[in-house]
C-alpha cells in the first residue's frame, strides 16, 4: 500500500488560515490503514482545526467527509455538488488523491493533509517499511522475493557491496543489507546457484527515469 505520514497541523493551518469554509476529505484506502488520513484522522484534524479557529476568535465552518477512494473518478464525483461550497479542501489522501482531486476540481483550492512516503508494508502497528519502488519491471523472481531496487541503498543488482557488514547496511546499522537477505533466502530455498547468475544492466526506462509513466490496457478499456 501507499504509506503516508501525518503533516504537522501548523503547516495545514498556515495554508487555510484565511478560509471561512473548509472541507477535510479523508480516504478509506491506504491512508486509513497507515492511520494518517482515514475517517478517524479526519475527525481529529477537523476537531483540532475548529478549536484552533475558535481560540483565535474566528468562525470557520469545517466539514468532514471520507471517500472510498480519491484516485477514482466515480468516488470523487460524490462531492461534485458540495465541493464549490468550500473555500478550500484539505485532502488526507496520498499525493495521487490530492492531484486527481485538483484535476477534477480545477478552480478549487486543494491542500495536502499528509506527507506521502513510499510503497510499503505494515511490519507492526505503527511501523511501516518500504518494500517497492514501482520500477515497472519486477525482478523479485530472481532475487528470492526480496527487492534490491527498493531495499538496497545503492539499488545494486549484483550485490552486496563492500558496505555490508554483519548483515547490515553501512548507511544505517539498523538497516538490513538487502543482498544479505537475498543470499540467506536463496540458501533457505536451496537455490544458491541463482546467486551466481549476473544481472545485466537493467532497463530503467520503465522507472521514474523515463518520465511520468502510464499503463495502457486496451483489453480492459471500454
Amino acid at each position: 500500500m501507499i504509506v503516508a505520514d501525518k503533516k504537522p497541523i501548523e503547516e495545514i493551518i498556515e495554508q487555510i488560515k484565511d478560509c471561512a469554509k473548509i472541507l477535510i476529505l479523508g480516504c478509506n484506502e491506504c491512508v486509513t490503514v497507515c492511520e494518517a488520513g482515514g475517517k478517524k484522522e479526519v475527525g481529529v484534524l477537523a476537531s483540532a482545526l475548529r478549536m484552533y479557529f475558535l481560540n483565535h476568535n474566528k468562525e470557520v465552518k469545517i466539514d468532514e467527509i471520507t471517500l472510498e477512494r480519491q484516485c477514482d473518478h466515480e468516488y470523487l464525483e460524490e462531492i461534485r455538488d458540495v465541493a464549490d461550497q468550500y473555500d478550500a479542501i484539505v485532502s488526507l489522501a496520498c499525493g495521487v488523491g490530492v492531484q486527481f482531486m485538483a484535476e477534477k476540481y480545477h478552480t478549487q483550492r486543494i491542500y495536502p493533509g499528509v506527507n506521502t512516503c513510499f510503497l510499503g508494508a505494515t511490519e507492526q502497528r505503527g511501523l511501516w517499511t518500504e518494500r517497492c519502488q514501482a520500477c515497472g519491471s519486477c525482478l523479485l523472481a530472481y532475487t528470492a522475493g526480496i527487492c534490491p531496487v527498493a531495499r538496497c541503498a545503492k539499488r545494486l543488482l549484483n550485490g552486496p557491496c563492500g558496505g555490508s557488514s554483519n548483515g547490515k547496511c553501512e548507511i544505517n546499522p539498523e538497516l538490513d543489507c538487502a543482498w544479505q537477505l537475498i543470499i540467506d533466502r536463496l540458501k533457505a530455498l536451496g537455490r544458491l546457484e541463482d546467486y551466481e547468475k549476473l544481472f545485466e544492466i537493467k532497463d530503467w526506462s520503465t522507472d521514474r527515469a523515463g518520465g511520468p509513466r502510464k499503463v495502457v490496457r486496451e483489453d480492459v478499456q471500454i
Binding site: I9, K40, G43, V44, S47, A48, M51, N55, H56, K58
Partner: protein, 116 residues
C-alpha cells in the same frame, strides 16, 4: 465512605481506558469541557494488558495537539488508580479540578458565543 469530589466533574464510563482515543478527548473540549482527566488502572494491572499504556500515549498526543491549537495541553491529564482506591480518586478529582480552575475556562467556550 461517602467521599466528596467536585460536583462539576462528569464521569464518562468506558470499558477500558484503551478505548479512549484522541478524538474523544478533543470532542470533550469542543463541547466545552474545561479539562479532561483519564483515569486508568494501575500500570501492569490492565485486564486487557496494554489498555492503560495506550491511553497514556493518546493523552500525550492530545496534550501536544491542544498545545499547538492554543487550548493548552495541561488541561488533560492521565491518572492510574486501582478500583479500591476511592479516597485517592477523590483526591485526584480535587487535584485536577483545582488545576483546571486555576487555568480558567476553556477558551473555545467563550469564543464560541462571540464568534457565532
Amino acid at each position: 465512605m461517602r467521599l466528596n469530589y467536585p460536583a462539576s466533574i462528569r464521569i464518562i464510563r468506558v470499558p477500558c481506558t484503551g478505548k479512549v482515543d484522541v478524538i474523544h478527548i478533543l470532542r470533550a473540549f469542543e463541547k466545552g469541557a474545561d479539562g479532561v482527566c483519564v483515569v486508568g488502572c494501575m500500570e501492569g494491572d490492565c485486564h486487557f494488558k496494554t489498555g492503560n499504556f495506550r491511553a497514556r500515549k493518546r493523552v500525550e498526543q492530545a496534550q501536544k495537539l491542544l498545545d499547538i491549537i492554543g487550548t493548552g495541553g495541561e488541561r488533560v491529564q492521565m491518572y492510574n488508580l486501582s478500583s479500591g482506591e476511592g479516597p485517592l480518586f477523590a483526591r485526584y478529582a480535587k487535584e485536577i479540578y483545582d488545576k483546571v480552575k486555576a487555568l480558567g475556562p476553556n477558551p473555545v467556550k467563550g469564543n464560541k458565543q462571540t464568534a457565532a
